[in-house]
Symmetry: C2
Subunit: 219 residues, 2 copies
Amino acid sequence: MLRNKVRKTDTLIALNEVYESIQGEGLLVGLPSVFIRLQGCNLRCPWCDQPEALSFSGRKVKLSSLINELKKFTAKHIVITGGEPFAHRELPFIVEFLLSEGYSVQIETNGTLWVEEMEKFAEGIHITCSPKGVAKYYVHPKILKYAKELKFVVDKEFSKEVLKKEEFERFLREGKVVLQPESNRKEMMEKALKIQKELLKECYTVRVIPQVHKCFDLK
Amino acid sequence: MLRNKVRKTDTLIALNEVYESIQGEGLLVGLPSVFIRLQGCNLRCPWCDQPEALSFSGRKVKLSSLINELKKFTAKHIVITGGEPFAHRELPFIVEFLLSEGYSVQIETNGTLWVEEMEKFAEGIHITCSPKGVAKYYVHPKILKYAKELKFVVDKEFSKEVLKKEEFERFLREGKVVLQPESNRKEMMEKALKIQKELLKECYTVRVIPQVHKCFDLK
């Protein structure tokens, strides 16, 4: 077991950055968090606010050095983001280590991909799925099964019809849908509020939560 | 019963305003809500953002006409705010009516007062208590018993020591404390983040959530 554990910590991680802030988005808004941004994404959204995290080429670091880097920070809630975390086979190793070190774990994903070894961790972490227009809002069945919230970016393309997909109905019923105005643009906030009201008339309550950290120029 | 019910709807309510927006604060942030602002408060906070709702003199409306006014709106979540809702003896009548009409109810209170007839409703509603410096952060035991969250305005006066009051420990432990930077001032956001980090070192996780509606000039 130890030899196995030692080999895992040598795993190389495509790491963009690690930093501490508050979670500015979604149902866990306001939580003190450390963000692990992985390098590389399988999609290209037109308004992506992390363009330098899209390409899969970039620095690799050992899992052990990532764990060390985390010790500099105070927060015990880790947000694995990107880029697209499920595009990285090492994801289960990272999650396994974080849980064993007592962190709570949240993964921000576009929902199009899955990593089989994540099955044993998926229940005990907070998966925030943000389905994307460039992927026709497709979400992998396993992500649908385990996601704790659906966070939709309200951009030019988004419409209430997107939420009519059968697989999203559970989230609507359970009040687990968040509409996030794209780049905090005023007209997208108005569009989100309009869609929220229309959904209310169909007895669905969704939340409208902007990118709060950006209101205060926080990273 | 009906005569009793008829008499209750004639109850006069000191009403400042009724309007629809999103809940911009606290743990229910982003929820589509109708705000019932009662007229009159027992405290005078230096930075109060609703000065015209402080005095107890003002228009009175029948409960029945308030209920009619609510029908204009779409949201089924009502936030009774003020002024100070627990300074109004009619509060239980309003809550009783709202619950009977199928609304979900949230009350925003400074926590210093209680109305005995609220006991039978308190469990089924969301009480957001915002203890105030001008009242030395005193909170009535019944409010402490039923509140679902403590939302502290981080102003010049506020400090981490306030949270050391024994009666607040449960909320800290359960992650039900929100720090709200006074009037979204940048230096108060920095102060809130600093206190958040200090509390983390004592194994308490609090959320920092500003007044989100004000970031978008929403009422």
